[in-house]
């Protein structure tokens, strides 16, 4: 039996798996969409004004955000809403009654499987005088409420606010619990992915290379600039799958991009005011990292087994590689057979790893100053693909130990993983580039969620 089947039930119970989607209106934020659906449900009960709203689950910020937006919608419907605070859902009933509400809506919020969900009920708080001390309920209003919309970057930001950052007493890695949401949907599949501060604001932007374009997105998924690569000459040894190299260069913020569809790469500068990417030079080698350079294996989705570091020193690897990641002084290279070479520093003997996916990266997710190893499935067609986070404490192969966190990803092949500092805190966020079954692409954002 494939090991994928063994772990599948476990993974299904974790967060961030393929999302059921009830709303496709992507121009409106997830909180607004969810509130719109919930308001519609409450109105259809029909609810009797005044309506009290009670929320549990999620972070306090997420509860307040949904509460505020939903209350505004219900107010527009003339339902005189108020948000009540209570220690439990049961206690909320008496609080609402004491405030004079005639309807109580109790909702539990959660960000799970790339979706923002609300589940709960609505009940009438009026007690018949002849019931005496028994707190009987009226026949109406009553109903169950279940709504789900695709989560977005805003929801992840709300859900992650307030996460404790205390270091465990052992001094080991802090807890990792990632919540995911779709950041960007792309018409084209991803050829390369990078993150870095391109506008000097102290926060990273996300850069995506597709076969013929380079795009830069803000932390909320907003497109900042896009550049077509059509003016570059065609390559004589392109790859069947979109592939390339993309890196944010050190020094003045610049983006280096090279698609294997083209015979040369470009160095670009983001002009945020004009929403453009301006070419300032060409490349003669594939940009693997801020200062690291390599070369493509002609016609293949792989890089040559020799990497040139920032100081010009060459590093010769055991084999060509499909993925590289640099978190100085550490370096990670993933080879075509799913093995990896992890260098603790330049010149050290690499640790051989196994079972790595092309979507692998080094990044400090918990803010403890030591990067973690992130990797996707080594299977050609995982269903679903899985992201694992391993601690890099000490030497040896970190993948032989239980991961700090693992969770399934949305449908598709996760071939690209980078970490980014999108919000200025110590913990880096994760961006996964997915090749979707219909041949399109998707960027899936994961960030630390509320415990």
């Amino acid at each position: 039996m494939s090991r994928a089947w063994v772990v599948a039930p476990l993974l299904l119970s974790l967060t961030a798996h393929a999302a059921p989607r009830s709303s496709t209106d992507e121009t409106v934020s997830a909180v607004q969409r969810l509130s719109r659906e919930l308001a519609s449900d409450v109105r259809a009960l029909p609810a009797e004004a005044p309506v009290a709203l009670y929320f549990s689950g999620g972070s306090a910020e997420l509860r307040r955000a949904v509460g505020s937006v939903l209350a505004a919608r219900l107010a527009a419907e003339g339902l005189a809403p108020s948000v009540v605070d209570a220690p439990s859902a049961e206690a909320a009933e008496s609080v609402a009654r004491a405030q004079g509400a005639r309807t109580l809506v109790r909702l539990t919020l959660e960000v799970e499987a790339g979706a923002l969900r609300a589940r709960g009920d609505a009940l009438g708080t009026w007690v018949n005088f002849w019931s005496g001390r028994a707190l009987t309920r009226p026949a109406r209003p009553s109903g169950a409420l279940v709504e789900s919309v695709d989560a977005d970057a805003e929801v992840l930001a709300l859900a992650s606010v307030g996460t404790p950052t205390t270091t465990p007493p052992t001094g080991g890695p802090r807890g990792v619990r990632l919540l995911g949401a779709t950041l960007v949907r792309l018409e084209q599949p991803v050829a390369a992915l990078a993150a870095g501060d391109l506008d000097g604001d102290g926060r990273d932007e996300v850069a995506v290379l597709t076969e013929d374009t380079v795009s830069v997105f803000a932390a909320d998924g907003q497109l900042l600039a896009r550049r077509e690569l059509g003016s570059l000459p065609f390559s004589n040894a392109t790859t069947r799958e979109p592939f390339g190299a993309l890196a944010v260069l050190s020094g003045p913020p610049r983006l280096a991009a090279w698609s294997t569809r083209r015979a040369q790469g470009e160095v670009l500068v983001l002009d945020k005011g004009r929403s453009t990417l301006r070419a300032v030079g060409t490349l003669d080698s594939a940009p693997l990292g801020p200062v690291e350079r390599g070369g493509f294996v002609p016609g293949q989705t792989a890089f040559q087994a020799e990497v040139r570091l920032g100081d010009g020193r060459p590093v010769t690897l055991l084999a060509p590689f499909t993925t590289s990641s640099f978190a100085p002084p550490r370096m990670l290279f993933v080879h075509a057979d799913g093995t990896g070479s992890l260098y603790s520093r330049v010149g050290a003997t690499p640790t051989r790893l196994g079972g790595l996916g092309a979507g692998s990266a080094l990044g400090d997710l918990d803010g403890d100053g030591t990067p973690e190893l992130l990797t996707t499935s080594a299977l050609l067609q995982p269903s679903p693909d899985v992201l694992r986070v391993h601690a890099l404490n000490g030497g040896g192969d970190p993948t032989v130990h239980e991961p700090l966190w693992q969770g399934p990803l949305p449908t598709g092949r996760a071939l690209f993983v980078v970490t980014a500092n999108l919000d200025g805190d110590e913990r880096r966020e994760v961006i996964v580039g997915l090749l979707k079954p219909d041949g399109t692409g998707e960027l899936f954002l994961l960030r630390q969620g509320a415990p």
């Binding site: 063994v6 084209q188 599949p189 076969e211 057979d337 196994g354 996916g357 299977l379 995982p382 269903s383």
Partner: protein
């Protein structure tokens, strides 16, 4: 959908769940392929059986391909664009390829070409006889609106002749070996090498049972992991109205059972074709069979057919038997395909089994059928009216409507449509059919076995 979406989508769908490879398709290896076709294929317009078109496609491809969803992606071409609505620009890898392609299309469109596939270029100014290269580009000006031009250009008959100047996915290395072409504009095939063996049906069975090959083309029984393609190789009984009585169509329709032909006389995959276009393009139900016409005087006619196709021989013999019941003595005359096409071009036949590989788009398919039916004059009437409809669904509906209306006026009796049977060993992944119903072997790869990645984890 863009250039590589179909290939990528196929990879996502067809990869093995248990194969390890860092999530990416791995390059390298060789696959042994056996087929029941000729050892070498000729020029594209004559290599039009599904099997021969597949073999030709290993060495030479048309400028583009069509996805099963009807979208176009460049193949030999770097790009296809429409600088203006009436001009299509095809950007090729180099000027030599552009020149070779322009020559091939001009020849196909000329009267010497003697091919019904010239109808694919009919909407071009000068009916495709004036295609010239400008550097590495071809500027194709339309004489009337024809939104399906690009889809028509993806037909295998419009591939350039095999030559060093026109790269294909593979390059012949001699003795049936084909090496991956690094410079193929769509990206080199995943496999390093294909080893082709031409054999017959018995040879196919023996090679398969002894596991000496990993892929077989042109077989009746397919394996589970083999994709099913569209059945677009359409065979018609063409007749000369001047040399046959007016009730000949009725005589054939009343005597020939198309279900019988596909079940008993031709290789699968095959379906009866009751209308001018194959069921894949025209799914209307069949009309009821007419009664036999009143018997007339006995006549002797000659039926010419393609000597290279066993299916046509079997069908010709069946027609011989069935028409005998209607008072026709049918003499059979097998001909080489080139001779058959020459006879067709001159109208020098009484009866002919005429098979064409139709494009997967109704408009261009009808154009080929009208020309194959000897009614090239109708192209100038029918195509502009179809091309004037900007909506693809409306165009397709109009084509079906016209195909029904024109059926009785064309000296063609549709018989059956066939595809290419394929079987593959489980270790071969990535085998998908294009919209034409032909397998794309350049997308095939060898699946790594589970555990090939050391210490692999799910």
């Amino acid at each position: 959908m863009t250039s590589r979406r179909i290939a990528l989508a196929s990879l996502v769908l067809l990869g093995s769940a248990s194969a390890l490879g860092a999530g990416r398709t791995r390059y390298g290896g060789e696959v042994r392929v056996a087929h029941a076709g000729p050892p070498e294929v000729g020029e594209p317009a004559l290599a039009d059986t599904p099997l021969e078109a597949t073999l030709l496609g290993l060495l030479s491809r048309p400028v583009c391909g069509v996805t099963p969803e009807g979208e176009i992606h460049p193949a030999l071409a770097r790009e296809l664009s429409r600088p203006t609505p009436q001009v299509t620009r095809v950007t090729l890898p180099n000027a030599a390829t552009a020149t070779a392609l322009a020559r091939a299309w001009t020849r196909l469109s000329s009267t010497d070409g003697a091919s019904p596939y010239r109808a694919l270029l009919y909407p071009l100014r000068g009916e495709g006889r004036q295609v010239t290269a400008s550097g590495a580009s071809l500027e194709l000006a339309l004489s009337f609106p024809w939104p399906d031009l690009e889809r028509a250009l993806c037909h295998p008959a419009l591939a350039a002749p095999v030559a060093s100047s026109t790269p294909g996915p593979f390059l012949s290395a001699g003795r049936g070996a084909l090496d991956a072409q690094l410079g193929w504009p769509r990206g080199r095939p995943y496999l390093d090498r294909l080893l082709l063996t031409a054999t017959d049906e018995r040879g196919l069975a023996r090679l398969w049972s002894t596991r000496q090959v990993q892929v077989e083309l042109g077989v009746g029984s397919e394996t589970d992991n083999a994709p099913a393609g569209a059945l677009l190789y359409a065979t018609y009984l063409a007749f000369s109205p001047r040399r046959l009585p007016t009730d000949f169509r009725q005589a054939v329709e009343s005597s020939i059972d198309r279900e019988d032909l596909t079940r008993l006389f031709v290789h699968g995959p095959a379906v009866p074709m009751p209308h001018l276009l194959p069921p894949a393009l025209m799914p209307q139900p069949p009309k009821p069979r007419p009664a036999a016409p009143a018997s007339g005087p006995a006549r002797t006619v000659t039926l010419v057919y393609d000597a290279a196709l066993d299916d046509q021989r079997a069908v010709a013999e069946r027609i011989q038997v069935k028409l005998h019941e209607r008072g026709y003595t049918v003499a059979l005359e097998p001909l080489a395909r080139s001779a058959l096409r020459a006879r067709w071009a001159k109208g020098d036949f009484e009866l002919m089994l005429h098979a064409v590989l139709l494009p997967p788009v109704p408009g261009p398919a009808l154009a080929v059928v009208l020309d194959a039916g000897g009614r090239k004059d109708l192209l100038g009437v029918e195509l502009p009216a179809i091309g004037a409809l900007s909506d693809a669904a409306a165009r397709d509906a109009r084509v079906r409507e016209r195909a029904l209306a024109l059926a009785a006026s064309l000296p063609l009796l549709p018989l059956y449509a066939q595809g290419l049977g394929l079987r593959a060993m489980p270790e071969v992944g990535g085998l998908v059919m294009d919209a034409q119903g032909l397998p794309m072997l350049d997308g095939a790869f060898l699946l790594p076995t589970e555990g090939a990645g050391t210490g692999g984890r799910p």
